[in-house]
């Protein structure tokens, strides 16, 4: 697809990606103001991830990963968390969940809610594994997983609903002419 892109398609792709990165970064900044009740370093609700739900429906895997990394890095800059342990956990989780959500979405077997829930569950799991192996160097932090799963599922369902409404209202026009 990339090699055959016309100039208009390239412009469209860049615009869509930039817009989603911008929305995702601002959501990342805003959601970091919402208190997160678990003692996880850099713990966040994950509302910024709804842009990924929009992306997996129409963007290529490469662009989805660009978006995942882009919004986390820009959001990290805005919140001053770039490079902190919480940021490293977050970006690992987001890349893993973007990959999974893209695959689930392309399988055409799952709805928005399923893709979102699975993405959140995998994101939390990868975050805690990264924390257990690289940061606190102890498996005990994995005891937090059920609590993160519960909170993550709440925001995942909210994200799925937002993404579903956005696509229902504007159709596929953000990806295709």
């Amino acid at each position: 697809m990339v090699n055959r892109d016309s100039d208009a398609q390239t412009a469209k792709r860049i615009t869509t990606l930039s817009m989603l990165v911008a929305i995702g970064s601002v959501m990342y900044l805003l959601e970091s103001l919402i208190p997160f009740p678990l003692p996880v370093p850099g713990g966040r609700w994950g509302f910024s991830n709804f842009v990924l739900l929009l992306a997996v429906n129409g963007l290529s895997l490469r662009d989805t990963l660009y978006l995942a990394i882009g919004k986390t890095v820009v959001g990290g800059l805005l919140t001053g968390r770039l490079g902190t342990p919480g940021f490293i956990m977050g970006i690992s989780g987001i890349v893993a969940s973007a990959l999974l959500m893209w695959l689930l979405s392309r399988s055409r077997l799952f709805g928005m809610a399923g893709v979102s829930l699975a993405g959140a569950a995998v994101s939390n799991l990868v975050q805690l594994f990264v924390a257990a192996w690289l940061i606190v160097r102890s498996g005990e932090i994995l005891y937090l997983y059920p609590y993160m799963l519960l909170l993550g599922s709440i925001s995942a369902l909210i994200n799925a609903y937002i993404a579903h409404e956005v696509i229902r209202r504007i159709g596929d026009t953000i990806w295709f002419d």
């Binding site: 429906n57 709805g111 809610a113 399923g114 829930l117 102890s138 005990e140 005891y143 799963l149 579903h164």
Partner: protein, 115 residues
């Protein structure tokens, strides 16, 4: 893309089962005991490792996650008679030796990480 797809119930069931399995309460046993002498923390003992040591004329033992004073040179030996403790609550106190052994409340394995 629909809000709920054909196989979404599968993901939901997996997540619910995972939560139920992980939420099954496990006994959160205490992992450390603190020993104070004259009100100052002099020692933190890992309850997960069996050990035995002497302190201020007392012989203190850790066995199976419980800590006890097995022998003491004090006259009344209340600390020895109290037996072993394995949870927050009643500390072992030896007044003649000015020793207090307690298991801090709320200090679970999880807290050991997050602190």
């Amino acid at each position: 893309m629909r809000f709920l797809g054909k196989l979404d119930w599968l993901i939901i069931v997996i997540l619910i089962l995972t939560s139920i399995i992980l939420f099954i309460p496990r006994r959160q046993s205490a992992t450390i005991a603190e020993i104070y002498h004259d009100g100052r923390l002099v020692m933190t003992v890992d309850l997960r490792v069996d050990s035995q040591f002497n302190l201020e004329g007392m012989k203190i033992a850790v066995s199976g996650g419980r800590i006890s004073v097995v022998d003491s040179d004090c006259p009344d030996r209340i600390c020895v008679n109290q037996g072993a403790i394995d949870r927050p609550g009643m500390p072992i106190v030896c007044v003649p030796n000015r020793i207090l052994i307690k298991i801090p409340a709320g200090y679970t394995q999880l807290d050991a990480i997050t602190q």
